[in-house]
């Protein structure tokens, strides 16, 4: 692959990284804490590509000028020495055909043209619900009582963790508000959320079983905000810690900008 093409690809790829940070799409792929890394990585790629192109242009112009001057005086000899100089200039690394560099086109196309959506229902059915992350550590630990208020807004990870491990029953009798997307698995309707610790490749779902059929009419991947109560003692190892949830209200909402929990 030619040097110019490599530089163009670097600029495209760096641009793709900067783009997804600027328009917020990066939250579909990684956790928010990665933002400065992606920006820095993208900018460095842009700079490396741009500097190489600029230097090539300057060098080409200087070489052309020198060749024009010298060819009058010396003739073919000058041209030869100029070629030799050129070789030193881009001497290391790409004397071999760097075919692998073509693969850099793939993420560029994927980001600019396909822009894959955040993981959703398909990912949940593919990965059987793993145990929420904090769970391994909080077994039998005392959960702090929930704050006062008519409806307590909680992350789904928190709801499922408390449903599975909180022996004090802090959620009993409390109305919980949370949001997630619909997953139809067989005849059951689940509300799910994916938890990531670094990027979407390590996503693990947390799910609750929506009782009462109020949510059955929504297709998979519809985002809902529900309020209601967790049925005590329904989350255990056999159902992959999926508690039953009796919703009082079910409301359709737009997909949030940051679709994962962390």
């Amino acid at each position: 692959m030619k040097r110019e093409t490599q530089n163009v690809l670097l600029i495209l790829l760096g641009g793709a990284l900067v783009k997804i940070v600027v328009n917020g799409d990066y939250l579909r792929y990684v956790k928010p804490a990665q933002q400065p890394w992606i920006i820095a990585g993208g900018v460095v790629m842009l700079v490396l590509g741009a500097v190489a192109i600029l230097r090539d242009l300057v060098a080409a112009r200087a070489a052309a000028k020198a060749a024009a001057l010298e060819s009058e005086a010396v003739g073919p000899e000058a041209r030869e020495s100029h070629e030799g100089h050129d070789h030193v200039d881009d001497g290391h690394g790409h004397a071999h055909p760097a075919c692998s560099a073509w693969l850099l086109v793939v993420p560029v196309l994927a980001v600019f043209l396909v822009a894959p959506p955040a993981l959703g229902a398909d990912s949940v059915t593919r990965t059987t619900a793993r145990v929420p992350q904090s769970a391994a550590t909080t077994s039998a630990a005392a959960f702090p009582p929930l704050p006062a208020g008519k409806v307590v807004e909680l992350a789904m990870n928190e709801v499922v963790t408390r449903a599975g491990w909180d022996s004090n029953g802090t959620m009993n009798g409390r109305t919980i508000g949370m949001s997630g997307f619909v997953v139809h698995e067989g005849s059951t309707t689940l509300l799910a959320r994916l938890v990531i610790s670094c990027c979407a490749a390590d996503a693990a779902p947390v799910t609750v079983h929506l009782k009462g059929g109020a949510a059955d009419r929504f297709p998979s991947d519809t985002w809902l905000r529900v309020t209601g109560q967790v049925v005590a003692g329904t989350a255990d190892e056999n159902n992959g810690y999926t508690p039953d949830f009796a919703p009082a209200t079910v409301e359709r909402i737009a997909a949030p900008k940051d679709p994962y929990e962390y």
């Binding site: 110019e4 990665q34 992606i38 460095v44 690394g93 396909v114 398909d122 992350q133 490749a201």
Partner: protein, 339 residues
Amino acid sequence: MKILVDNAPEQKRRARRIRVTSIEILCVVLLVAILAQGRLQDLFDVPALRTGATVFVAVCVQALPFLVLGVLISGAIAAFVPARVLERVLPKRAGAAVGVAGLAGVALPGCECASVPVARRLIGQGVAPAAALTFLLAAPAVNPVVLVATAVAFPGRPEMVLARFLGSLATSMVMGWIWARWGKLSWITERAMRRLPDVEPGQRWKVFAETARTDLVEAGGFLVLGALISATLNVLVPAKWFGVLADQVVVGVIVMAVLAVVLALCSEADAFVAASLTAVPMLPKLVFLVVGPAIDVKLFALQAGTFGKSFAVRFAPVTFVVALACATMVGTLALGGAR
């Protein structure tokens, strides 16, 4: 005679006009892709493909900044650290240099993608390959960021952090000594061994930018390849694998080792994934954490691209076995058996 002389440049010019270079191919590829965008998006509307595409982009977005960090360090070594300084700092004997290199891995707080270009540059600057390869394996696993992440993922189990540190350090050093004893330089592609000429003071920034750029282009393609493989396997590997590991430790150890290779998780994230598998005993979890940063499909692609295929097909399987053995041994000692 005169006609011949006149014809030659004419033919040359015509040949140049017809020749298709990579820049034209790139333009055509981009043009076709933009024109077919609608169809491309329809194509990716299949749930499995959509999931795979998201995982692919996620791995790329997550790993590319670390690769950039790696190539910047590699460029800095090439431009600002003369080979004779490295020769003076590192012990002469390869065996001792391996030990120093393993501990030096503590200083590079990045994932595995960053360490490949750095290791390659170290070899280029005349560091013994055994020491550079030890650094390659140690850096992603024993650096403070990864150890803190492990401590956060396993609160109340400091022995897990210790076991991970010891297991990974042992893996990298054993691999270094194995290389010093049996490794052959001819397996490593000549391109990776090429020594840069000593840099003149005025040229430092130029060498820095040029080395980083070249390394990035070369390794970037292989990182993308690794991400493609990892995304494919991520979608294809049945989730049941995680479920059946509860009480068969031997099967658990092997399955977790294989999963570490095929899932190709970032070494800063794998502790959280391991911790979330409550059904799995501690020993297989440790194996997952030690094998993952040492060898996975993404790293294999990067190594094949950087050091050459004949290196990677020998180095990767041995690394897998050594990491498995070290993790099992350290785990049995530090975690008190297979609980």
